[in-house]
Amino acid sequence: MGYPNELKYTREHEWVKADGKTATVGITNYAQEQLGDIVFVELPKVGAEVSKGTSFGTVESVKSVSEIFAPVTGKVAAINEALATAPEKINNDAHGSWMIRIEVKDPAELNGLLSAADYEKFIAEEQGK
């Protein structure tokens, strides 16, 4: 599966879709492959403050627990409620299964994220380790 150019990426394997002051966030296809069958997603409440680089939730596969990190600082504007009952959507379509929408405090933070090409280079290095 490819990494769409309209998305930005983090080294912690989140994807970000920026739309004005709103950032929609999910985990990448590489992340879901590493995790395996996802069975549980824990997300913050709408209105919660999240800050860049810190954990805002967890995603659990059958065998492991992983934290999800906020790519930018801001307030949670929406969460994807459907993932509570159907977390496997992330395995089926990681880039189409958003987790939270963040009202971004400082849009300049978005510029620091990776492009699709840079992210693909990054995961190639990760896999080579």
Binding site: E33, G36, D37, V39, F40, T58, E60, S61, V62, K63, V65, A84
Partner: protein, 386 residues
């Protein structure tokens, strides 16, 4: 005082099927010092992954490389007496061709390891032991059989051990052998021809809670690969999947089978682990017996129970168990989402006062209290044959 710096990159051990696992796209992990497949997401036999592999074993058939397990052979005039001394079950009850679950114990009644004892011949026994404890077990066995006229050999490297598990296991394996598999009872074994290999040990054993077989073939890479590939090929019509250690763990957890380092260890006793039915006090003396007899007269302080999450959340290995007031009363030994039962389940040690079926406790999950209920175990029992 000087500090010794230990090598952190000790070479992982590999089974003879290592290259095949990698070719099949398995995700590999370090398991007890062994480089083992945890799941096969995109095997040539179809999309797998832990969940599908688990369900293949419950509903059809799955195949596991379990060559990392160790094997110790004990032979000689006093082989039976030696096995009786070092293990808790009563090996004198075994007929040739029969096996049973047992354990090696420390004098305190705690576990060196749990094992399967096979009686191969008049005075010949095979102990199948865990991967992570192979050296420790062998050294312990060798030291403890010294007083007996017998020989203990570590023959773990001689075999590639393949587990074929699930309700269709018998149909799959029947295609590769002329042995009448239906005549082998659960926990019995015979020697027969499999994939053209004469005198292959075929045991009706496993670690999944399903019917199934484990076969022991020569560990050279060529033979191992041929057998592995033939088994998978024969399983195509039953939608077989190669299965990794991930599914092996969730399958054994649903069936409440102990895992060394989790439900049993060198600090947990037989009585706490609830494995007394495999411990035969009426037989001759064995290591650990005296301590266990003393403990039997007292009350155990903790017992192993099955938990099921009532609230959202997955209790996992090492998480704390709390009472209603928030005091720590125990811990989770193994916990996971259960792929067949579709519930979050765990095994945990708690004081006997909290062990009644229906009792509620809390498991602390990332700082949150998640309510769990004590439920009957095993969580899963294979359906009785019609």
């Amino acid at each position: 005082m000087s500090q010794t710096v230990e090598a952190t990159t000790a070479a992982l051990r590999k089974t003879a099927l290592n290259a095949i696992h990698r070719q099949m796209g398995a995700k590999m992990v370090d398991f007890g010092g062994w480089d083992m497949p945890i799941e096969y997401c995109n095997s040539p036999l179809g999309p797998g992954g832990l969940m599908k592999e688990h369900l293949a074993v419950r509903n059809g058939v799955g195949v596991f490389d379990v060559s990392h397990m160790g094997d110790i052979r004990i032979t000689g005039a006093e082989a039976l007496a030696a096995v009786q001394h070092i293990s808790m079950n009563d090996a004198s009850r075994l007929a040739i061709g029969q096996a049973h679950y047992s354990a090696l114990l420390y004098p305190q009644g705690t576990f060196v390891d749990d094992i399967i004892v096979h009686r191969l011949g008049e005075s010949e026994y095979l102990l199948v032991i865990n991967a992570g404890t192979r050296e420790k077990d062998y050294n312990w066995v060798r030291d403890n059989v010294k007083g007996f006229d017998c020989r203990a050999e570590d023959i773990g490297d001689n075999y590639t051990q393949i587990a074929i598990q699930g309700p269709k296991a018998i149909d799959l394996l029947s295609k590769l052998t002329d042995v009448n598999l239906a005549s082998i009872k659960n926990y019995w074994f015979i020697h027969g021809t499999v994939c053209g290999l004469k005198n292959t040990l075929i045991a009706r054993t496993g670690y999944t809670g399903e019917d199934g077989f484990e076969i022991y073939v020569p560990s050279d890479e060529k033979t191992s690969a041929e057998v592995w590939n033939k088994v998978l090929e024969a399983g195509r019509e039953f939608s077989v999947l190669p299965c990794g250690l991930g599914a092996r763990n969730t399958l054994r957890l649903e069936s409440k089978m102990a895992l060394y380092g989790h439900e049993i260890s060198d600090t947990i006793t037989v009585l706490e682990a609830g494995l007394e039915r495999y411990c035969k006090f009426e037989k001759s003396d064995f290591v650990g017996k005296a301590a266990l007899e003393r403990q039997k007269a007292e009350d155990v302080k903790r017992v192993l129970v099955g938990l099921e999450s009532v609230d959202r959340g997955i209790p996992r290995d090492g998480y704390k168990v709390l009472d209603g007031a928030g005091s720590e009363i125990g811990y989770v030994t193994s916990g996971s989402y259960a792929p067949f039962l579709k519930k979050n389940i765990a095994l945990a040690y708690v004081p006997p006062a909290f062990s009644a079926i229906g009792s509620t406790v809390n498991v602390e999950i990332r700082g949150q209290k998640v309510k769990c209920q004590v439920v009957p175990t095993p969580f899963y029992k294979k359906p009785k044959k019609q």
